[in-house]
Each structure stands twice: as structure tokens, then as C-alpha cells.
Symmetry: C2
Amino acid sequence: MNTYASRLLENAVNELSRLPGVGKKTALRLALHLLKKEPAVSEALGNAIIQLRNEIKFCKVCHNLSDSEICEICASPKRNESLICVVEDIRDVMAIENTGQYNGLYHILGGIISPMDGIGPADLNIESLVNRIQKGNVSEVIMALSTTIEGDTTNFYIYKRLKETRIAISTIARGISVGDELEYADEITLGRSILNRLPYENTLDS
Amino acid sequence: MNTYASRLLENAVNELSRLPGVGKKTALRLALHLLKKEPAVSEALGNAIIQLRNEIKFCKVCHNLSDSEICEICASPKRNESLICVVEDIRDVMAIENTGQYNGLYHILGGIISPMDGIGPADLNIESLVNRIQKGNVSEVIMALSTTIEGDTTNFYIYKRLKETRIAISTIARGISVGDELEYADEITLGRSILNRLPYENTLDS
């Protein structure tokens, strides 16, 4: 006998369990949850998923997700067009937007250089970043990638690509997180935050 | 600005985060995962969810999920029709089927009596169980509910309802520790507890 008593259920469980972090048991729990709810709930979820993939666009300038050709950030007249913050993916844009501390534009690479995963520079949106900078108007590029070997590699690659444009390139500060206790910080982070220490006055107004 | 850069993404995240155990961050991770995959993946997932809810049927005899009017178990000539195993929901049927120790039929209550959640006997498939037994052909009812207070209450309620039919009522052996839920029990324990079921009276004084 079919384990799931129904081919429809089996199909739904199989599809749900393809999602990252969702195993067969979780998928079954989700499917049975949907069966207990109104049909409209499943309808809304199913259509939202299909529409998302079929109708979403990527901003032609920064590669951010968007409902139109140019994303809201790139289209906004209130943003500082001379600043470009380079990030790995759209979640980083959201994280930085949530801080309320950044008013420039973004450039989403769509990943980081990772030979282990077969991702090279050609797979990322690096060429379009170079083009944006060559067009002028940009005064500074802020690298905001993860502090991993892959992130550092990508930083360095982009740094070398942009070196001849003589544009200012900075990276976001690495150091001890707010609220962290010194004794639990790892040695590399702590070491860097000592090397990159700031005048105390600079931290007072933030 | 819209946190998700896109109304389509926001919509998908909102719908996904209605699933149990899925928060906004997980929902976003799932949505971005789908965006990285082929459109066919989202299409298959979305349609599987919609079809599941719209086309699934419940077996008219045992209330199991089914693709047809009568489920595969009830329709099978190989099953012992004189045994009915009473369970809370379809996951318990799957768990018992996986043991390979049971060859009778099932009756799915669709829940257990739980005054705290506003679930009374009238909300469960108890009347149809009584009808099945009054029709004859059944020699034994095996109670296989979770060993919780609600499970015990439901056991006792059904025991009282069926007492006048003079049918043999047993419960699966309490090899499963108190507080454990059936679906997470290992197959050997669950299989043994079906083989070693006890007359319900024997468990009343414990």
C-alpha cells in the first residue's frame, strides 16, 4: 500500500520536502495542516509560490528583486547615487535597510566566489558592477560581504577589478558585536577589532 | 520602502509564514530558494498544494485520506475486517502501517477529546464508529490513541459508548512512555504494543 494513503498527499509531501530544511515528516505535518484549513489557504499559498517565480523581475541596475524593471531603491530620488554597497544577496539588502543607517544604492552579486561550489566570478553580477562604476557618478564602493574565506576572496577579486578605476573602496567594519562579551569573542575578530580601533570621539555621536 | 523589495515576494513570504513552525525568516529563505530554482519547481509545488486541498477525499468508512470514496485499506480484500484500530489522525495510520504488524482496518477520529481546545465528542468521528460496530462483522476494537490525558479521556468515552455492544475493546500495550506521541514512536515499540494489546478493563485501575 501507498504509505500516504493518497497519491495527492504523497505528491504534496514530496514537493514540500524538496524545500531546504524540510524533511518528509515536516512536509507531512505541513500538508496535513493545510488539509485542516480552508481550501482558500492552500489556494493562496500555491498561487503565491507560482506567481512569485513566474512574475518576479530583477532590477536591471542593481539586480535586486523587483516588481518592475528598476527596483524601488534605484528609482528613488532620495537615495545617494554616488554610493554603491556590494552585497551577496537580497537578504543582505533587507538587513542593511533595516538598520536605517544607509542611504546609498546597492549591487547584488547573486552569490560569492566559491570554487568548492563551482561558482566563479563569471557566475556573479560583477561585470555589471564594473560597468556602473565606469559610467561615473559613483564616488565610493562599500563591500559588505560575509567575513568568510569566500567573502574575502570575492572582496579581493572585486578590489583588483576596480583598482584601475581609482574609485574609493571600503569594507564594512569588522569587530565585536554590540552586546557581545569580550571573553567569548573569537581571536580573529578580537584581533581585528584591536587593529582597527577607532578614536573614541567617533563612536560618541552614533 | 517595502521591506521585501517586491510585493510578489512579500505575498509569498506572508503565505509561507502561515505554515506551522515557519517564521518570517524561514519563509523568506524558502521563497529565495524557490527563486533560485527552475520555474517548474515552484509550479509543481504550488499545484501540488492546491490540488491536495481541492481534490482529496476522505474514506466514507474509516475517514482516512483517500483518492477515492473508499480508501485502499478498507477496499483491500486482504485486510481482516473484524478488527478496527481507532486512531487520532492519519499520521497514526501511517505509523502503524509501517510496523507491518497490523492487518485489520482503521477508524480515524480526526482528533481527541480536549475540552481545553474546545473539542468534544461531537467533533470527532465517534458516531460513525458506533454505526460500524452495530452493523456487526467486527469482533474487536483496538484503541491506539496517544498516552496523554486527552487520549485516556477519549479511550474512556469510547469504551463507555461501546460497552453495551459487548464488543471486545483493547488498547495497545503501554510500552510507549506516558506523554509520547504515536507518530514519533519507533516501529519496534509500536509493533510490539499492537501485538501485546490488553483488555481495556485491565488498564483502568492503573
